[in-house]
Amino acid sequence: MALYEASATQLLSQLESGEVTSVEVTKACLEQIRKHDGEVGAFLKVMDDKALAKAEEVDKKRKAGEAVGMLAGVPVAVKDLLCTEGEVTTCASKMLENFVPPYSSTVVKKLEQADAVIIGKTNMDEFAMGGSTENSALGKTRNPWNTSLVPGGSSGGAAACLAARMVPLSIGTDTGGSIRQPASFCGVVGLKPTYGRVSRFGLIAFASSLDQIGPMARTAEDTALFLEAMSGYDPNDSTSANVPCPLFTQTVDKPLEGLRIGLVKEHFGEGLNGEVEKAVREAVAVYESMGAKVVDISLPHNKYGIATYYIIAPSEASSNLARFDSAHYGHRCDEATMLEELKAEEDALRAAGKEAELKKLDTPLIRMYRKSRAEGFGPEVKRRIMLGTYTLSAGYYEAYYLKALKVRRLIREDYDKAFKSVDIIMGPTAPNPAFAAGSKTNDPLAMYLEDLYTVTANLAGIPAISVPCGMTSEGLPVGVHMQAPALEEDRLLRAAYMFQKATDWHSKSPSM
């Protein structure tokens, strides 16, 4: 097996035994990126020199018999909305095209402490808003299984670089399915941890009460390893869970006895692609063959998930993205042009005697804000800012935002009830396999409705995973979605490992 195809777990044992060096592994990955990323477009930035320098440093440490971190010498990719000190962090937005953070996110620091080799920063939907990575303002990412298709999103680059065997580990973030859906589209594993399990400090926020950073990899063991490396309480994040972090690597290979799987009837209904349904049902059958019991359950408020999500997420986003006003960082419009335009508008209104409109004309500062933001943000980001501003505004707050917060609690209470009788809730990750680029960009609502299976885990704050479980007749990967109660990531990883022991879907790779 080529080095770039190996899992992180395999690489670590080879690095430990001295069979290979980190420099060799890193070079193999960089070479794979060089060969294929022109076509895939997973990376916004590849940090060759830094990566090789880190690899060398780790090799030296190992040779000298010094203690090394748990990811020592393993290349990892970082989604480009985690701040990396001294390295441009863009969120795939023109707004932050030149933004160099003066600090690193907690997770990036943890990776550095774990001696991981950060190889580059991956493409995504702008500010993580989207499900196809087509909303990136800085590049196109294609699905390695079929480059005319999207990789999913928003962690599209993160999933694509795994599928294309460019790195064994890749960080994603998930606000409404942004780890799990691209994992499903690209045939890799993606886990959204419990809210608070992984520190959000340094993650550029989309919707703060929903955002979670999580591991993406090609195997359950690697996912466990990566999650273990990035988890833990962080005093810099007030929403971080102050609980000890389990050693996922030590339990991942322990099968779950007497597993009770819940299936939500409505999740297999209208709108679900037949081939996806078939693959997921077969996955359920695999678990049954291993002794799992399948129970039909009901999550009565699940059908309100999308509506709830598309009020709460844009509301928070409208506020989170207010900081991009071009006063302290980020894109600013050309001031001279802006002032000229403003002057021309003023003159025209004056000439036409439109006093009322003249009074309403933007001040230069307000126009600077509005123009800079109009230039810096793409259409989807604008749409969500507008939507969220509206749902929070006077007269609408109760009807939309507050209402959504209440339904959110009902959605979580459904889960609480369901998890009294089942251990895991299983279903499809997405209703359809990867779709053609450009096919859904004109209908935002249709695009939103595709998130129906994933958003509720974010609303409830519970962990969920997508694991490759089959292929369509066109050779596109399908993912099975599993959800567990808060802080039970361990259960999901063990279930994923059991499945991978019994099947070989995770080892399928696209022909490149």
Binding site: P102, P235, I366, R370, A374, F377, M386, Y390, K406, R409
Partner: protein, 97 residues
């Protein structure tokens, strides 16, 4: 059914500090109306006596001690500023106060 007008959307665009072209405004009104109509699905849920849930995980009393840390050097604070002088961020004159 809400009826989101073009004027509403224009007002929101000022609140959101976004400048939309005439075409964008038209399209935005259409798309926002569609989405807003969809989310009104929530009206059918009875939420009497339901506490709003603003956080995914409910925890309380998270504090830090009042001990100073090292602040950033000024150059680092100003490094990303689109416009600054040796000391301060600069923006077009703030009017009206």
């Amino acid at each position: 059914m809400s009826s989101l007008t073009r004027e509403d959307v224009e007002k929101v665009s000022l609140l959101a500090r976004l400048r939309l072209s005439e075409d964008e405004l038209t399209k935005m009104t259409e798309q926002m109306s569609q989405i807003v109509n969809y989310v009104e699905l929530l009206n059918e849920v009875n939420t009497d006596d339901v506490e709003p849930m603003a956080h995914a995980v409910e925890q309380y009393n998270v504090f830090a001690e009042d001990v100073p840390h090292q602040s950033l050097p000024r150059e680092a604070a100003l490094a990303n500023a689109p416009k600054s002088d040796s000391e301060c961020f600069r923006v077009p004159a703030v009017l009206g106060d």
